[in-house]
Structure formats: C-alpha cells, structure tokens
C-alpha cells in the first residue's frame, strides 16, 4: 500500500487543472512509475494525488499539425512513442531514446510527459527533445503558454510549470526535424533497467553530397544538473566534414558541460564519455542520414 492521503481521478484536463487550483500542493500522477516510487521512498509520503492517468483522448497520441509540426501528447507512453508510425517516420531517434528507458513493463506505463516533467537530467527522452528544440505547451488556469525546452529546466527536479499547470503538448517544429537525422547513445552500466551515466543525442543535417555537416545539434543528459545543449560544439563543427566533426565535437563539448562526481560515477569518467561518445553519436547520426562512414 502507498502512503498517500487521497486520489482525485480527473475526468478531463480542465477538471485536473481545477482540482490543482483547489489543491495546489497536490501531486500530478500520470503513468505512476516515478511518483509512486517517490511515495514509497518517503519523498512524497502522505501526498494527495491528482491522477491524469487514462486521459488519453486529450493527452495521448502523436499527430502532425497542419503546419507540419509534430505534436506529441505527454501521456503517450514510452512504448507508444517508440512504435508510433509518425515518430518512426519523422523523429525515429526519439523513439529509439524512449525505447531505452527502464524495461518493457515500465515503458508500457511511463510517459514522455512524465519523463520531462520530473526535471531529471538522466531522462532518456530529454536530451533528444532538447536537440530537437521541442516546445512545451502548458495549460493552466490562465490558459495556454509555450515554453521552449531550452527554458524548461529550472534546476534539479524543477521545470517551468506554475501552480495548477499541466504539460499538454510537446511540439517539435517541422524545421527542426525535416532533413535531420539523429542518434541517441544511452551509456549505462546495464543494457536494460538502468539510468544513464551519460545520455548523448546528436542530430545532423548533411550536405546534398552527404559529406559535410551543414548543421549539428548536440544535447546531453547527466552532463550537467539538467539536460543541456552544447552550443559550443554545434558551432564548432558546423560546416565540417563528417569525419572532422566527429573528431572534434567531443573536445568542443567539454566547454559546455558541468558533470558532477557522485557515487554513481565520477566527473572524470563522465568527461571521458562526453569526449568519446559525442563523436560516435554524430557518426551514427550521419550514417543514418546517408553519409559513408
């Protein structure tokens, strides 16, 4: 049994927002794979829950908007992100990243929205959403607002959600994925059921002859207290050949990262992983884009 005080099962997004307005201290629960564990650990013991579990009609699923932007419902489970045909067509790397969270049972309940609302740097989809420049559409008592993912993370475990606000859409603008290919490397001790020691997501846009990186995006999980983009690395390798870019990107990225030593891994080890894996991710992203590597 969980040490919780009440569960309000919201019937709709509006209902959930209203419930959160009445009880701003209440905790939103979606898939449960994060919140329930925190209750059990005692971090949220005794809490009151507002459950948005099952509000799939409003909050789950993937679609392409008229603008061509990709629109992901935050209640979409990791599993459904991975296997969604639109994700596979337009942003397959996001599906691959979602497929590395936990294990199959967790991916069946854990949601992409939960993954980015808990503010955790190791979240497997976060670095890729960062690289794609996703826009977080939140709804609250005052209506909608859009937060660029660059501004989303406010610190460890903190995101830009105001009282009684819910993340309702995750939108990837068409320009940010069209013509790009990407690769995500989850570096962890185990090949399943693990949290990332480092997550690296690299997107590339290749020249017509597939030899030059016209543009690159590089984002990390666990290279800093929150997921981050490495603009220095991106700027440094833009316009280089794939091979040159792969060679240089790791060292350049070191200027933007701020990994910590924890009992899980040392700063030095994470730095070495950034150096090594950035180039590997870039090469693989380029290969997927048609480069001969």
């Amino acid at each position: 049994m969980y040490d919780l005080t009440s569960i309000y099962r919201a019937a709709s997004v509006a209902d959930a927002i209203a419930a959160l307005e009445r009880d701003p201290q209440a905790v939103v629960i979606a898939g449960g794979s994060d919140v329930l564990i925190k209750i059990r650990e005692g971090k949220l013991a005794g809490c009151r829950l507002v459950s948005i579990h099952g509000l799939d009609a409003e909050l789950a699923g993937v679609k392409v908007q008229d603008s061509g932007d990709l629109d992901i419902g935050p209640l979409t489970t990791f599993h459904n992100v991975t296997f969604d045909p639109l994700i596979r067509t337009h942003v397959p790397v996001l599906g691959e990243a979602a497929d590395m969270a936990g294990g199959p049972q967790l991916r069946a309940v854990g949601t992409i929205g939960g993954n980015v609302c808990n503010g955790v740097t190791s979240a497997d989809t976060a670095s890729t959403l960062m690289a794609f420049g996703a826009q977080m559409h939140v709804q609250g008592p005052d209506g909608w607002r859009v937060v660029p993912i660059d501004d989303w993370y406010k610190g460890v475990g903190k995101v830009d959600l105001r009282p009684a606000e819910l993340l309702c859409r995750i939108v990837i603008p068409k320009a940010n994925f069209e013509g790009w290919t990407g690769h995500y490397i989850k570096y962890a001790q185990r090949n399943a059921m693990d949290i990332a020691t480092l997550g690296v997501s690299c997107l590339v846009k290749l020249s017509a002859d597939k030899t030059v990186c016209e543009d690159v995006r590089l984002a990390f999980g666990v290279a800093a207290p929150t997921p981050i983009r490495s603009h220095t690395a991106e700027d440094g390798v833009r316009g280089l050949t794939v091979a040159q870019a792969a060679e240089q990107i790791g060292d350049l990225a070191l200027q933007d990262i701020n990994p910590r030593t924890s009992w899980r891994a040392s700063k030095e080890f994470r730095v070495q992983l950034v150096k090594e894996l950035s180039g590997r991710a870039l090469l693989e992203a380029a290969r997927k884009g048609g480069a001969q590597v």
């Binding site: 009440s6 629960i29 199959p104 967790l106 309940v109 399943a192």
Partner: protein, 161 residues
Amino acid sequence: MMEILHCTVNGKPVEVGYDLRESLLDTLRDRLGLTSVKRGCEVGECGACTVLVDGVAIDSCIYLTAWCEGKHILTVEGLQGENGELNPIQKAFIEEAAVQCGFCTPGIIMSAVEIVGSGKQYTREELRKLISGHLCRCTGYQNILNAVERAVDECHKIVGK
C-alpha cells in the same frame, strides 16, 4: 479509504472492495488470492509482479488499483485451458528447465504471453530485450530465453497453419 472495483480478472467479472492506497499487486494478492503475482522490489525493477492489463504487461507493484476500473487483468492463474491443459508457454518453461526457484517465473510467463500474443517472431536479441524487465538470479536467463523462443515458435506454427 475503501472503494469498490469492477473489472475482469482472468476472464471473470470481479467486484472487490479495496483501499485506494493499494497497488494492483496488493489487491490481486491480498484481496483476490492470486498469489502467483509476486512481490520482489515494489519499485518496478524486478518484474516478479508482472500481469497483463488490457493485454499489456505491466509491473503491478507500481500500478494503482484505482486505475483498474473496467480493465481486463490477466495473471498466470488465468492461463490454463478449461480442461486444465497448460498454455504452450507454461509447457515450454517445463520442457526447457526454465524454472528454478520459481519466484520470477509467473511474471516472466506473463511477459511471454504478451510476446507470443503479438503474433510476431523475434530474434534472440529481441527476445532478450523483451524479457529485460525481469530479474532472475537462478537461471542466467538462458533456459528462460530457450523457453520463450520455443513458445513463440510453437505458437507461430499453430497460427501459421
């Protein structure tokens, strides 16, 4: 904090009183006596409590009973045929010596039900990934993989005919 849950468990309609604070694991084990559903870690890491909810394998320890209204829940107790015949997956686990202490077995069998139910065939590596949400300390997963592979093959043959 008692409520009443209406759902279908192993093909039968069920109405059961439960405490809102219960996980599905609690309710299945302690209220419905479905003791095949095992408690191993309570944080979704070991997979011993895996059941199917509407055909999807989930860790019942991190799933609230409050979410189960109207759902179809399947546990190992619901796998045998009406004359008691074993499901092909259960048979494969016996034949392949995939069972040792047996504590992780029901959970893995439930993941195998989902795997077999997909109607697809899988490589060995794909099967490893599909059962990677289960921890087993006895078998090294070797014979479990053999059993799941065998069950998939056998069911595929039957469906293929």
